[in-house]
Amino acid sequence: MLSRLQQFMPALVLALVGLGVVIGGSEFELGSLTAMGPGFMPVLLGGLLLLLAGVLLLLEWRILPTGAALPSARPLLCAGLSIVVWALLAERAGFVLASVAQLVLAYAAISQPDWRKVLYSSAVITALAFIAFVLLLGLPLPAVGW
């Protein structure tokens, strides 16, 4: 059941996006072929996406699920969320803290990182990035915030 859901999920998401765009687009004026309103193209393409995703769902039904393993959560969470951490900290805590936090979290994506190396690399990369982007290219972020 889980593998079936995993198999259908992308097409299902696309179908829902298509439906959402049709509904959202129809709230705008549709207009006519000669004078199209802002809702015309979204409704047209939302409908097309719904149709294509529907056909895809039907075709996928014929294929038995592969039961492909889900990706492990740790690398995805650490590497992905490191970007969010940078975005949350950059303007508040400043460039240095945001960058070090991002790098440390990103390094934590691999199992058993050498923490001494991680801290050393994070410090060096942050220093280089600070010189290049903030000092030389004028990126408008404080070195340290709060």
């Binding site: 393409l45 995805l76 969010v84």
Partner: protein, 500 residues
């Protein structure tokens, strides 16, 4: 004569110290990211896009283009030495390049692929010089209906000709077109699908989308798979690069064929260097007297695809610069870069921005010569680069991505979106949905909508305007043919039954 005068003007602009510096910067960066597996040209170009906002458009385009074709040169290095392609088009080079390395002929393989890249690239530049002005002159008479049909062909071809399911490609193109709606509608001034987020009033950031879909998604795929290749104790000397007479014999015709195949495919919308290199390889195998040599270190198996992917990359500038229709996602980002400068690529570009067009064309050849110098005497340096472990590299790339996206609008919301698009790209790629058509759809979306609207406005809502105009009719027929062949291919393919 006029072409020669223009070309001389182009060389005058491309040989200024500033232009040379940006060209060198672009091709060096391109080679570096081409050599390193796991960082694509598109990620790097998107990363550098904000830097070009403050530059003269010519210098910016010279640098971005240099990254693109420089990456094609560098990408064969990892294919040959590690059996891991530096980029998708170089995947085919692994088939015969790696066996050559195992036979102790890595140096010869690297030498031949560099020369083939140079010849392929140069051949396509000559075609660009000859045909781009002609095509632009012809395209001046194109109407909105013609442009709509050309763009439709590019979108359909890009989604159906790419590797994998055509239907999934089409879904991604439509999703890209829909994402292009987000922001202020230029005709009515109304906000569409902004969900009350002020940062979305100007639409989704192209850099955030490209970085997320390609840069972040690529890193997530690599770290979650645990595949982090690096090279240990391999040395390539200049002496080991000398080819034999037999090698050169096999090189000549395969290089010529690869150049022609690549140039032809580059000029077509919707194809790209990956398709070019795979087709060139297939052609060589078909023409070979002894096809069994392929896969065991056949020189033609590395030369023809390398010549083809470089020729394709250079020839792709023909439709991009003269029609304003990008053939693939990278070209779409380049167009995005020009649009930000207020320059709309199209038939008028050659006349209205002659300096930009001819300067860029001249820089291509200078860049290719620079790449020859960078890739032959300095090959040892690039080989050493492969020994940097990926697990040390990717956190720095993630930081660069965050900084790069932030620097476009000084917006942390854009950085958050990059994470979202990264997850989206990762999940969809895992499920077999290609990301490139989405990006192409996103960039072309507003142009498709504008031309569709204008064509119907001018024809009083008469849809037959798309079939009564010859140019539009031809492109629509081609689009229909591609769609039909995809449907037929789908019907022929039996339902796949896989083990639980």
């Amino acid at each position: 004569m006029e072409t020669l005068t223009n070309l001389a003007m182009g060389f005058g602009l491309a040989l200024t110290p500033e232009a040379l510096l940006y060209c060198l910067l672009g091709v060096t960066l391109g080679t570096v990211i081409g050599v390193l597996p796991g960082i694509g040209a598109l990620t790097t170009i998107s990363l550098c896009l904000p830097l070009t906002f403050h530059l003269d458009p010519l210098l910016g385009l010279i640098m971005l283009a240099g990254i693109f074709y420089g990456a094609q040169y560098g990408s064969s290095t990892a294919s040959i030495l590690l059996n891991v392609p530096g980029s998708a088009p170089a995947a085919v080079t692994c088939i015969d390049g790696y066996p050559m390395a195992r036979q102790g002929r890595a140096g010869v393989a690297l030498f031949l692929t560099t020369i083939a890249s140079f010849i392929g690239g140069s051949f396509a530049i000559i075609l660009l010089i000859m045909f781009a002005p002609l095509l632009a002159r012809f395209a001046i008479g194109f109407s909105a209906a013609d442009y709509f049909s050309i763009m439709l062909l590019a979108l359909v071809a890009a989604s159906t000709l790419s590797v994998g399911s055509a239907l999934k490609g089409l879904c991604m193109v439509v999703l890209g077109l829909i994402l292009g709606f987000v922001g202020t509608d230029i005709n009515s001034g109304q906000f569409r699908f902004t969900f009350g987020i002020p940062a979305l009033a100007d639409g989704i950031s192209l850099v955030a989308l490209a970085m997320g879909l390609f840069g972040v998604a690529e890193i997530l795929a690599n770290v979650s798979s645990g595949e982090m290749p690096s090279l240990k104790n391999t040395r390539v000397t200049l002496r080991s690069m000398l080819p034999t007479r037999q090698d050169m014999q096999e090189f000549k015709m395969s290089c010529a064929r690869g150049s022609v195949v690549g140039s032809f495919l580059g000029m077509l919308p919707g194809t790209g260097p990956t398709i070019a290199s795979f087709l060139a390889y297939a052609l060589e195998k078909k023409l070979a007297k002894d096809p069994s040599r392929f896969g065991n270190g056949a020189v033609e198996g590395i030369v023809s695809p390398e010549a083809a992917n470089n020729a394709c990359v250079q020839a792709a500038f023909i439709p991009t610069l003269t029609l304003g229709v990008p053939g693939d996602a990278i070209m779409a980002v380049m167009i995005g870069g020009l649009l930000i400068h207020g320059i709309t690529p199209g038939p008028q570009l050659i006349t209205e921005n002659a300096g930009l067009f001819w300067g860029v064309v001249a820089s291509f050849w200078i860049g290719n010569v620079l790449l020859l110098v960078l890739n032959l005497p300095f090959i040892g340096l690039w080989v050493k680069l492969l020994s940097i472990p990926y697990r040390m590299l990717y956190p720095a790339i993630l930081l660069l991505i965050s900084i790069g996206v932030y620097s476009v609008n000084n917006s942390t919301v854009d950085v958050m979106f990059t994470f979202g698009f990264g997850l989206l790209g990762f999940a969809f790629t895992r499920a077999g949905f290609p990301s490139a058509p989405l990006l192409l759809g996103f960039v072309l979306g507003p142009l498709v909508e504008e031309n569709f609207r204008r064509a119907l406005l001018l024809s009083n809502g008469d849809l037959t305007t798309f079939v009564t105009r010859p140019v539009s009719a031809i492109f629509l027929a081609a689009t229909l043919l591609i769609l039909l062949s995809s449907v037929l291919a789908l019907r022929r393919r039996p339902a796949v039954v896989l083990d639980e």
